[in-house]
């Protein structure tokens, strides 16, 4: 068994279990908050993008293009360093808030495209039916279109969520402690890159595998349109 200790000293990893546990919890927590934000933003942007009002859909399209054409890292830097400069906030954003907002805005753009595809996949008859019973626009969206739209796009949304979880590793650049940060702690404390990053990779793989299971389950349960 000695050769394993040479390559991968699991005893060292065992010493850092508290850090890795906190890191995993932080990654999940950050991803969860960003996901909620992204779903809200994504829904509104998708509805704006489909509106007939040229101002509304141009704003939505511009937002999506801007996010898609710049790297997440730059988005994190811009938001973390520049939102405090806005007059409406009288204090600095801390790293965690900045990171979550940046991740949420980023994932929101990608999710809006998925949700838009979902809304477009709801058949025209559904909207007409809702209109004919006298529902207002808001009611149609709330009770008829959006529930069906989301049911259709749960698998791609879960796929985008696992991208979000992976992307959350980038907030370690502005000093947020999460799973990747736990690896950096091991690297700086013990100078053991194998133990640090192989463990991190393994933890991410486990999270990814769980997401894959979810996605397969959702696909079987909902049988929705695949994007």
């Amino acid at each position: 068994m000695d050769w394993i200790v040479e390559v991968y000293n699991y005893r060292v990893v065992a010493q850092f279990i508290p850090e890795f546990t906190r890191g995993i919890a932080a990654t999940i927590w950050i991803s969860l908050l960003s996901l909620i934000m992204a779903l809200i933003i994504g829904t509104f942007v998708a509805i704006m993008r489909l509106s007939a009002n040229p101002v509304l859909w141009r704003i939505a399209a511009g937002y999506v293009q801007a996010i898609r054409s710049t790297p997440l890292l730059i988005q994190i830097y811009v938001i973390y360093f520049s939102i405090p400069a806005l007059p409406l906030l009288d204090r600095r954003l801390d790293e965690l808030e900045g990171g979550i907002i940046a991740l949420g805005l980023n994932a929101g753009a990608y999710m809006s495209e998925i949700i838009r595809a979902g809304i477009e996949s709801v058949s025209r008859g559904q909207v007409e039916g809702a209109q004919s019973v006298g529902m207002t626009y808001m009611q149609r969206m709330r009770y008829v279109v959006l529930p069906q739209a989301f049911a259709n796009v749960v698998p791609p949304l879960l796929g985008q969520t696992s991208v979000l979880i992976k992307d959350s590793s980038l907030v370690s650049f502005i000093g947020v402690f999460e799973l990747f940060g736990a690896g950096l702690v091991v690297l700086s404390d013990r100078l053991m890159p194998n133990e640090a990053f192989m463990t991190v990779a393994f933890c991410y793989l486990v999270i990814y595998w769980v997401m894959l299971m979810f996605s397969n389950f959702a696909q079987r349960r909902l049988g929705g349109a695949r994007r």
């Binding site: 801007a66 790297p71 890159p193 194998n194 991410y204 793989l205 695949r226």
Partner: protein, 224 residues
């Protein structure tokens, strides 16, 4: 007017960074596409063992952040003590990005091959072509056309991915921006805004081109 002066001062460095970003992304799209193409084809035509192994390869890379790949290649591989795995920053960045790209390309190749109607390969087989012949002469030429539009999306993913290699000290655009902010710490917003704009100027035309290609060649939907 102060802003304009500062921009004048930092612009040459940012453009130098953009040039590095351009070089890395160009090398990567070439290497990553070749690798991804080979992986994608082998996964389709290879036997059970090959396609399972390659499936694991794709899942392993898809399931971990690019940042982790980069650190494993740059920090973990040298600890093996094998001399050719002691990589400098630039090759490490290119290799990590190429591996990452190859998983996307492999998925595109598979989706494109599957998008060619079954009747095509069946007809080819019925004229007496072997499986490999029908692949090479009938299916692949048609699939190739479908692969062009999504490659634009891949190219943009690579360009955005190059921002992360700044962490191992490659002097690309983000790194250049960081240096500039150290010289002008009060103008963080301006400099990072400019950096974002330069990325936009590089990525946006590619995305537009990809959309134009999509209307021209048709496209395949990717599993996200």
């Amino acid at each position: 007017m102060n802003e304009i002066k500062i921009l004048e001062a930092v612009m040459p460095f940012l453009l130098e960074g953009l040039w590095m970003t351009f070089k890395i992304s160009l090398i990567t799209i070439l290497c990553g596409s070749v690798l991804g193409f080979v992986v994608g084809i082998l996964r389709m035509v290879g036997g059970w063992a090959i396609s399972t192994t390659l499936g694991l390869y794709i899942h392993a890379l898809r399931g971990t952040p690019f940042l982790v790949h980069l650190y494993i290649i740059y920090f973990v591989l040298p600890t093996t003590g094998i001399s050719w795995l002691q990589l400098e920053a630039f090759p490490a960045a290119v290799i990590a990005l190429s591996l990452y790209t190859s998983t996307y390309v492999a998925e595109i190749v598979r989706a494109a091959i599957e998008a060619v109607p079954r009747g095509q390969s069946e007809a080819a087989r019925s004229t007496g072509m072997t499986y490999l012949q029908s692949m090479w002469y009938i299916v692949l030429p048609q699939a190739l056309k479908l692969m062009i539009p999504p490659m634009g999306g891949i190219y943009v993913i690579i360009i955005k991915g190059t921002s992360i290699v700044s962490v191992i000290g490659i002097a690309e655009l983000v790194r250049a921006g960081e240096h500039a902010t150290q010289r002008h710490p009060k103008e963080l917003m301006l400099i990072y805004g400019m950096t974002a704009l330069l990325y936009f100027a590089y990525c946006y035309p590619v995305l537009r081109l990809a959309r134009w290609a999509e209307t021209k060649f048709g496209s395949v939907r990717l599993p996200s």
